[in-house]
């Protein structure tokens, strides 16, 4: 059984420009101990999906229209605020993108970390402090004891992101949601943080949802990848299969449009024509159809469903929301 199951999640925002369905019918399951990559461009709904899992969608303007998030037999979307609070940061925790703004500048590192343990574990100050020092040591911070008395501004970006990770892991969560955890960091620091996440996952068996726009990060970190476009999942596959043989035209276009470090080709890059869609005015059919080279007239009529195309590997079925790909696979 899956650790976390999301069914048909729909999150709507009522804005001045009209109603925007940031997440429109997303379903997926997260298995114990795996890393699931969630890829998409800005506005594709990947962050909002995960804010919904954590009960952090601001309401209003956000409205969770429908769907369910099953965790240990209960629907997280229906939990009361205190119950959700008990879960959040405890069994399901999150690392945010920007280490510069997601720590409280007025509190010492030690205070911010200890609060987590005092709230969720009921530890006393002294005990909490000891556990925090150990947690900082675990994420590779030298002299953790003295770091506890420092403020966030006294540390570099990489160091702050380590503290965010240490904080997220304090209660040994079963699910860790990492929303662009390395996007704000330099590559050499990014490499350190990714190495740290791999290592922690191996030791603790935490299941990770990794949200990113960087296909390189996904390739190295995740077991399976889901691709989102305009609020919907358009392709799901095991990482190796997805990169070797992308089935949705958008995924294929994305992979073609990134320059490669390992080759010196001088040909122009293959880009995806057009602009990302305006979520307040989506076309009636497939949201990608206006930019899709293979689109036919029927693409503009109905939203394609995410369907199984084949049984690629026993553990991970392949899904794509494109009737063209799907009919090819069947014939």
């Amino acid at each position: 059984m899956a650790l976390l199951e999301v069914h048909d999640l729909v999150v709507r925002f009522d804005t001045h420009h009209g109603t925007v369905r940031a997440v429109d019918g997303v379903s997926f399951a997260l298995q114990e101990g795996e890393t699931l990559g969630l890829v998409g461009e800005s506005g594709s709904g990947k962050s909002v999906t995960n804010l919904a899992l954590m009960g952090l969608v601001p309401q209003p303007p956000g409205v969770i229209e429908s769907g369910s998030v099953l965790y240990e037999g209960s629907d997280l979307l229906k939990l009361s605020a205190p119950k959700m609070q008990a879960l959040r940061g405890n069994e399901i925790s999150m690392i945010f993108q920007d280490p510069m703004t997601s720590l409280n500048p007025l509190l010492t590192i030690g205070r911010q970390l200890a609060e987590v343990l005092e709230v969720h574990r009921g530890l006393g100050r002294k005990q909490a402090r000891e556990s925090c020092a150990k947690a900082l040591g675990d994420v590779g911070i030298p002299e953790p004891e003295s770091r506890l008395d420092q403020y966030p501004h006294e540390m570099s970006g990489g160091m702050r992101q380590r503290i965010m990770i240490a904080m997220a892991l304090l209660c040994d969560p079963r699910v860790l949601i990492a929303d662009e955890p390395t996007t704000a960091l330099d590559v050499t620091i990014q490499a350190q943080i990714l190495e740290l996440m791999r290592d922690l996952q191996q030791r603790r068996g935490t299941a990770i949802i990794l949200i990113t726009h960087d296909l390189g990060v996904v390739a190295g970190m995740s077991d399976r990848v889901h691709v989102m476009y305009a609020g919907r999942l358009v392709e799901a596959a095991a990482t190796v299969d997805l990169f070797r043989d992308p089935r949705h035209p958008y995924t294929a276009g994305l992979l073609d449009s990134i320059p490669r470090l390992s080759t010196s080709e001088v040909e122009p890059l293959k880009s995806i024509a057009g602009q990302p869609p305006d979520l307040a005015a989506l076309p009636a059919g497939c949201a990608f159809a206006p930019r899709c080279e293979q689109a036919i007239s029927s693409c503009n009529e109905a939203v394609p469903l995410l369907e199984s195309i084949e049984q690629a590997t026993a553990t991970s079925p392949r899904l794509a929301a494109c009737p063209l790909t799907n009919s090819e696979a069947r014939s």
């Binding site: 620091i189 390189g216 190295g220 470090l261």
Partner: protein, 341 residues
């Protein structure tokens, strides 16, 4: 060697920093750029890479005269620019233009596109109002936008389209040199490729010289002819593109390349990774010797703590070689012979 269009020699930019003195001055010096030299030729692109804080944006801002160099020389077609006053710099400014990183912050939200694109010509007194409108339309066409959109405001365009407007503005005065400071890093992947292709095409069409600053090494490899790697205010390695990417000779370049995640799961899992420990040191108190020494995985191979005491100079590997490196290590990677073919 053909005469370079832009010749930068031993460029330094220091900022006052650190503790305040009684009279309001500062005691320390932040050496943001500390002796950088390179040259640009027409139709060529030099990639400048490095991590945040290494001084690459300061180089860019100094070259377009947004900041005055502390010392060193910036020669455009033989004419010395460093040390010129704002007013005397003005006639040269149209020949070196800049494209900025953030297409949301670099366009005035209250100006129409016609006004944004016409302003450079207005300031330089090059065109009458009517001509400026035509110029704006022509520029939009050059960068692949609809010329009928000149009366729109920036917020009516998407990020990629705004970056095209930023590029059009930089081209308005028909410059010879374009300084591109992270021109695609704020854009989505599918739009990045469009802008990179546009920049490539414009370079050929108008034989522009680019200084292309980016932290994304794959983008730099795609667009550049040669590449310089900066660390803490200094260039540590410079080489023709393929030589640098296939056989990097400075330990920092090697670590940087190995840290880039590859969008290919099989390659990504099989490769050898050099994970550097620690952070970039503060430029306020750089290490006395080689700036990279505290993080260098190979420092033990240089005898007698030389890296701790002396700062290595950027030197050509052979008298005729275009490869330059600032490191005391022997060239023991064995690939050097292949590279000098």
């Amino acid at each position: 060697m053909s005469a370079a269009l832009l010749e930068v020699t031993n460029l330094k930019k220091h900022f006052p920093a650190g503790e305040t003195t009684v009279l309001g001055g500062r005691k320390g010096r932040l050496r943001a750029v500390d002796g950088v030299s390179f040259s640009l030729e027409a139709g060529q692109c030099l990639g400048l890479v490095g991590e945040s804080g290494c001084g690459k944006s300061t180089v860019a801002r100094t070259l377009v005269g947004l900041q005055r160099a502390t010392s060193g020389s910036i020669k455009l077609d033989g004419q010395e620019l460093a040390g010129l006053s704002q007013r005397h710099w003005l006639p040269y400014r149209r020949r070196i233009q800049m494209i900025f990183q953030d297409p949301y912050a670099s366009l005035d939200p209250r100006q129409t596109v016609a006004s944004i694109l016409g302003e450079p010509a207005k300031i330089h007194g090059l065109a009458k109002p009517r001509e400026r409108k035509l110029l704006a339309m022509r520029l939009l066409e050059v960068v692949g936008l609809n010329p009928r959109h000149i009366n729109r405001y920036p917020h009516e365009f998407s990020g990629g389209q705004r970056q095209r407007i930023g590029i059009a503005r930089a081209l308005a005065l028909e410059p010879q040199v374009l300084i591109c400071d992270e021109p695609v890093s704020a854009l989505d992947v599918s739009i990045q490729a469009q802008i990179i292709n546009l920049l490539d095409e414009l370079k050929e069409r108008f034989s522009l010289a680019y200084l292309f600053i980016a932290h994304d090494l794959a983008v730099v490899r795609h667009i550049s002819d040669s590449v310089a790697v900066m660390y803490l205010g200094k260039v540590v390695e410079q080489a023709p593109r393929d030589e640098l990417f296939e056989a990097p000779l400075h330990p920092y370049t090697r670590a940087l390349l190995s840290a880039v995640p590859l969008p290919d799961p099989e390659q990504e899992r099989a490769r050898e990774r050099i994970v550097l420990s620690g952070d970039v040191p503060s430029p306020l108190s750089p290490p006395p010797g080689c700036a990279f020494e505290p993080r260098c995985p190979r420092r033990a191979e240089v005898p007698g703590d030389r890296c701790k005491r002396e700062s290595p100079q950027l030197e050509a590997l052979a008298p005729s070689s275009s490869r330059r490196r600032a490191c005391f290590l022997e060239n023991s990677w064995g690939k050097i012979q292949d590279c000098q073919k």
